[in-house]
Assembly symmetry: C2
Homo-oligomer: 305 residues x 2
């Protein structure tokens, strides 16, 4: 803890958040970039509204800290972090649509389809997803072609049918046929876990880590990804709405099975402690350099909102 009461983790998270938001607002300006014919201002405004919304920027932080672990604390890592945040944001924009979760508000602001309209939200989401791949593929992302294409392959896998969108599809089906415990774990590993796992693996790719370390970072990502979802389910049961900035008790009201509802609050807290220990073990070989990533595991598992 520093004198101001903020931990080094919190200060670093804030700094990284500021960097990624500055880059995103530059990249998503109305000014066409090389090879683009023009940028429709209303589409760009809808994209910015979907991305620059005060998110926690946890995924960008994980990309940048993981890359830093291998000495790659650079602009390439920041660009990949921004690309990942575009993918995460697109998924929220589409998830909020009337045909999906039908949410009017996100982080105290109207959702994109409420602020603009549904067509704009569909196109803004599509454009953010497409832009994420453009950003990583660009020669301005100063990485060799092999690393850029490896990042794209991993991101497309994590966010597609075998990952995020597949998990969203399973989540929709879960409203009709309730999944068992194994089904819930699979659903969550796809819907939220895959992208967090990618964030950590991406840092290793950017830092040209060897296969063993890349796998180690990916496994760390899987552990904190599962912790992220468990903490979310737990907060839905235990937190009050004012702390969360959104309605709580939604899962139970929707009759949605979670691991918390299948077991207990105490069981979930034990699982979370186990996942944090697992994450720390995976990072042990990196010693003090991995201190902030260990802090991130605690932050994710113990967060109050």
């Amino acid at each position: 803890m520093t004198d101001s009461g903020f931990s080094l983790f919190q200060i670093t998270l804030q700094q990284r958040t500021a960097s990624v938001e500055t880059l995103l607002s530059e990249l998503l300006s109305d000014r066409p970039q090389s090879g683009e014919i023009s940028r429709p201002p209303r589409l760009m405004a809808a994209m910015r509204h979907g991305v620059l919304n005060g998110g926690k920027r946890l995924r960008p932080f994980l990309v940048m800290e993981s890359a830093a672990l291998f000495g790659a604390d650079n602009l390439a890592a920041l660009r990949v972090a921004a690309a990942l945040e575009c993918v995460h944001s697109y998924s929220l924009v589409h998830d909020d649509l009337p045909a999906m979760d039908n949410d009017d508000m996100r982080r105290g602001q109207p959702t994109v389809h409420r602020k603009f309209d549904e067509a704009a939200a569909i196109l803004a989401g599509d454009s953010l997803l497409t832009y994420a791949f453009a950003l990583i593929a660009s020669e301005e992302t100063e990485l060799d072609a092999q690393a850029r294409v490896a990042l794209i392959a991993a991101l497309a896998r994590a966010s597609g049918i075998g990952g995020m969108t597949g998990g969203q599809a399973l989540d929709l089906e879960a409203a009709n046929v309730k999944p068992d415990e194994e089904g819930i774990i699979r659903l969550q590993a796809m819907k939220t876990g895959a992208l967090i796992r990618f964030a950590c693996e991406a840092g290793a790719i950017i830092g040209h880590a060897d296969t063993k370390d890349r796998e180690r970072l990916a496994e760390y990502g899987s552990a904190i990804g599962l912790a992220f979802q468990l903490a979310d389910d737990l907060l839905d049961v235990t937190a009050d709405a004012s702390n969360m900035g959104k309605a709580t008790g939604k899962d139970a009201a929707a009759g949605k099975a979670t691991l918390v509802s299948m077991h207990s609050v105490e069981w979930t807290k034990r699982q979370l402690a186990g996942l944090v220990a697992q994450a720390e073990d995976l990072l042990a070989p990196f010693g003090e350099k991995a201190a902030l990533l260990k802090d991130a595991a605690h932050f994710i598992a113990e967060r109050k909102n």
Copy 2:
């Protein structure tokens, strides 16, 4: 013309169409591939419904013929062609949604959101777009990393804010503020032109063509892309609905300004002839090898449905 009355162009188009459809139905099976946790069957069915719908497969043909021009008539070209068709198909699935064009039928079949539901159509479109990048980035696409990343950069540019989705956004805005001639040309170059241009440029990238030839193929793509749109606008005015398999006169009924409505049928026919001549000029240095690409320009400009 052969004895059967089909031209070599038509036979080759049919053969290429069969190859790309066979590959797409293999790739989009329910069986998870390497790195994927699982594939939700209903999502996969919605994706297949959106892609395997009897399309003309003009873009895949252009990728494969352009690659063949540089001696690269191979599986890599077929995989890139399939990826491009995934992008084209996703754009149709989202375009058909109630919030966009609100179309119930496409090629005599219910659209994805009518056959499944809106949420499935949104996710199937998202998944097809994501899968296109996964497909090109994969090491199974036997191209060096430099070529794969160049293809991804070009595809993301052509299909994103400065290309296809940007053009769709401009098209939505055109309902409120009618664009002038320059605006219509820009809108069409983005909405339909950019992806056709990419198809031809992609063949040059796959074939490791030099910069001059790559630019030549891209320009050929721009010429036939514009011709494609002009022919479409012309058919909307002149064809009868039974030939088209969809309603005609839609543009005029919607009060939609097209170059045909701003000029005349005769003017449009002259423009089309000029674009075909331009396409042939651009291909002249390749001699007889480019015969089928020249035929493609005629096919596009002179098609009756």
